[in-house]
């Protein structure tokens, strides 16, 4: 037997007080009565004279001593074990991931996380005080919540302070961290309080005897949105959303998922999945204006957090293309661009002569200009000696001096060879068998990627990407080939417009996992002190601000699914926050294959793990017995 609160032994001095009180009690108080004979006749055998009667008094005192001892031991919170309990160093990992928010119907609708905290209290409360404890949180990022301590109350307080987290757990990282921290400790072990949904724990616990999985939860009843991914199709002016629903329950799933854009229902999809299966579907969303896409699953189950997911639909804007070409060679390019609606914004696009280009370029750069800045400028048969430092360009049958220099005679009837590695620009473009009358022999002055070359290796199509400028260089005259009669060149032109037409990259990623800290992907403008924050959660919005320091910020309010909008001046960025791990939806607990309590040294506890209660009950029984012996002794 060991006492978890040995300080209670100080109360044993009460036993001494009991003996003293009994000694004092022997000194009888004197009392005068009118006639003693009356009392003696009444009391009969009640007078205390015999040795037997004195022994009965001793019995009463012994009973009181037993009562005191039982109560003192009960206060000391003893634990009994058939074996010897050695002090251990116990690192407890508590899983606070999304699956731990599942409600357990068998446990009075408490969440698994509540049960985990209760398990922590139970474990720490039923081990000897000589144990050393540490608590690690496995949710967001593995971190030590309570360093090594002998104070189990501190462990329980730290456990109570852990907040549930709606993201995926990083149990393996937490185990690795704990493994490092228990090195050198006496008889160490790692107790993982988890439902095991975040990863298979059985092989780990089987491989490492120090790992003890303390299983939590029993319910399987859950279906959740495992993935919601959206890709914009600029060429079609719409989006493709890939959504998958995980059915982790034991019953077939028949439900529906609703897609909303900025709170307006866009579509409803019927969902059906076998037990343990997954339903997936790619859905076309025709909403070029963009918005916040919310997918919600119409099903009440144990885990609510995975019943919705968010995605950001960036607005699809058609590209403004300037064609700078001599008038006599403009027709083919104009027709090709005109066929690219809605990829090309015909109303805002221009066809310019080389002479008009400088003035138009200067006008578009003016702050109040009505001209929209071009997303792509196509130079055909002419190019300025120096391209603008910023922009996206396609140079056909010309070569700015800064990009390349003539390397001798022109190539005559060169054969086109495509580079082995695929590039988005060359998607669906088949140039095999195309005939070119001639091509310029150019040596690239800037590092570039050759997408097609001649048999001699001279570049025919090359992409030169610089920090602020992208240039696709074609060294041949399109009109001096058979490309106008093939589909290849219009496809190349469409790919070029699509590839080159990218909005300025957002300073946020489109999606973040729950719990992940959101930071800008690039430095924010100098002088920015704060960013306006709008959190979209379900149907509600919360507005606040995020301080910006040294061109960056750290947004940690990412514990719930939803979307976030950050604004700095006129520049706004969106991001979605989702669980991001279909495994969290599979809440079926992993049943521990071992006796975790036995492994921790608590399995052979006697008296149901609450010996203090038994001692208290025994003391109560002794009180009753003493009362009976006192009130009925000597006479009954």
């Amino acid at each position: 037997m060991m006492l978890l609160a040995p300080m209670a032994l100080w109360f044993l001095v009460i036993g001494g007080a009991v003996v003293a009180l009994y000694l004092l009690k022997i000194k009888r108080r004197a009392a005068t009565v009118p006639v003693l004979e009356f009392w003696l006749a009444l009391a009969g055998k009640t007078r205390v004279h015999s040795l037997f009667d004195r022994l009965k008094r001793l019995l009463s005192m012994l009973l009181w001593l037993i009562i005191v001892i039982c109560l003192v031991l009960a206060i000391g919170n003893p634990i009994f074990s058939l074996g010897r309990i050695k002090p251990r160093a116990i690192a407890v990992i508590i899983d606070n991931s999304a699956s731990m928010q599942a409600v357990e119907p068998a446990s009075e609708s408490r969440t698994r996380f509540d049960l985990a905290r209760q398990a922590l209290r139970e474990i720490s409360g039923n081990r000897p005080v000589t144990d050393e404890w540490m608590l690690i949180e496995a949710g967001r990022e593995p971190r030590v919540l309570q360093p090594w301590t002998f104070d189990t109350a501190a462990i329980r307080r730290a456990g109570d302070a852990v907040e549930p987290f709606s993201g995926a757990a990083k149990l393996h990282d937490a185990i690795e961290l704990a493994s490092q921290l228990i090195a050198g400790k006496q008889d160490p072990c790692i107790v993982i309080i988890s439902d095991g949904a975040a990863g298979e724990l059985a092989p780990l616990t089987a491989a490492d005897d120090r790992l003890i999985h303390w299983p939590i939860g029993t319910t399987h009843d859950n279906a959740g949105i495992g993935q919601l991914a959206v890709r914009a199709h600029r060429q079609n002016g719409n989006y493709h959303a890939l959504i998958s629903v995980v059915n982790a329950s034991d019953e077939p799933l028949e439900t529906q998922v609703t897609l909303e854009i900025d709170g307006r229902t866009d579509s409803v999809e019927l969902v059906s999945a076998e037990p343990g299966g997954t339903w997936e579907k790619s859905i076309v969303i025709d909403a070029p204006a963009g918005g916040v896409l919310r997918a919600s699953l119409d099903r009440a189950d144990a885990l609510a957090v995975d019943n919705e997911a968010f995605a950001i639909l960036e607005p699809i804007r058609p590209a403004v293309v300037w064609l700078v070409t001599p008038t006599d060679s403009a027709f083919f390019f104009e027709q090709a661009l005109a066929s690219m609606d809605p990829l090309v914004w015909a109303e805002e696009s221009l066809t310019l002569t080389p002479e008009q280009y400088p003035a138009a370029s200067a006008a578009a750069a003016a702050p109040d200009s009505s001209l929209k800045r071009p997303d792509l400028v196509i130079f055909n048969g002419w190019a300025p000696d120096a391209l603008p430092a910023v922009g996206r360009f396609m140079v056909v049958n010309a070569c700015p001096a800064e990009l390349g220099s003539p390397a001798g005679e022109a190539l005559a009837s060169p054969q086109i060879h495509l580079a082995p590695r695929a590039h988005p620009l060359m998607q669906h473009v088949s140039l095999q068998g195309s005939r070119l009358a001639k091509a310029k022999r150019i040596t690239l002055r800037q590092p570039g990627r050759v997408l097609a070359h001649s048999a001699e290796g001279d570049p025919l199509i090359a992409l030169i990407e610089q920090p602020e400028r992208q240039t696709l260089l074609l060294t041949f005259d399109v009109l001096d080939s058979d490309l106008p009669f093939r589909n290849a060149f219009p496809l190349l032109l469409r790919n070029t417009v699509s590839f080159m037409h990218e909005d300025a990259p957002s300073w946020l990623r489109p999606a973040y996992r729950l719990g992940e800290t959101i930071r800008p992907s690039r430095a924010l403008p100098a002088g920015t002190t704060e960013a306006k924050l709008t959190l979209l959660r379900g149907g509600t919005t919360q507005e606040s601000s995020v301080p910006v320091v040294n061109g960056s910020f750290a947004l940690t309010q990412t514990h719930h699914t939803g979307a976030v909008r950050l604004e700095i001046g006129d520049d706004a960025a969106f991001a979605a926050m989702n669980i991001g791990d279909a495994a969290e939806s599979r809440i079926a607990p992993v049943n521990a294959t071992e006796d975790h309590a036995a492994k921790l040294g608590l399995s052979r506890r006697l008296l149901g793990g609450m010996p203090w209660l038994m001692l208290a009950m025994f003391a109560s029984l002794a009180v009753v017995l003493e009362w009976l012996t006192y009130h009925f002794r000597w006479t009954e």
């Binding site: 004197a30 009565v33 009356f38």
Partner: protein, 305 residues
Amino acid sequence: MGQSPVGGRPRASKGPLFDPSFLQRLETLNLIARQLVRGRRSAARPSIKKGASIEFKDYREYSPGDDPRSVDWMAFARLGELYIKLFRQEEELDLWVLLDRSASMDFGDPSKFDHARRIAAALAYIGLGNMDSASILPFDTDLRTGLERMRGKGQVMRLMKFMEDMTIGAETGFEKTAQMFVSRVRRPGIVVIISDFYGLQKARAGLDRLRFAKHQVHVVQVVSPWERNPPLRGELRLHDAETGEETNLTITDSMLKRYKTAFQAFTTDLRKYAMRSSIGFDLTDTDVEFDEFVRHVLQHGRLLA
């Protein structure tokens, strides 16, 4: 004075036993008694003896030695036989108050002894005003010297002084007391015994002796709340107030419960004995005012009947 601590002994208060208001209350009681006596005395207290009075009772034949003055000569003239006229004899009415002054009476607040003295004084006062004589005789182990055959209200101050000076004595010996009383007082009278009547078996023998001596016996049992519900519990050394004997005793709640039952039976047994033996019986608690009790006795009891 309140109750003594647990296990202690309640002491009698030391206030004046008879104050001016006491006499006023006595006079009130006397008026009540006088009204009762007027209504009852002539018819209710005839003597069984035949004697010299103006009230004719019967005739009987003349026997030698009879007083010739009592011969009815008119009857002799009519019948020729000598007959003696018999008249109802008027008997003197004596009140004897036997007051227990044993140590067991020194309990309660007011003490049973004080309470008993007030009742005794009240009865004697009534006797002085309404009867032929009134006597107060204290007793403990035996009969002590008291005030005998006081007549008239002029004895009141003497009575009060005597009662005031009376002290607590030793053990109770009522049987011996009764024996002494019977041998000293030959003429039957009203005998009121005021006591706690502990040792009932011995008390019965004494009461029987008084009863057999043709006295009209009336008992007043005095008890105190302390006795009804003694605040005793635990390991005690009990001390007998009369004998000084000591004994160790463990008094528990169950024993106290049995004590209360037994004490109730003790008073009940005395009452039943009194009823069987045609003895007047009254029970008084020390927390009841003496005049209230005496008024009750006068109106409902048989003391003046």
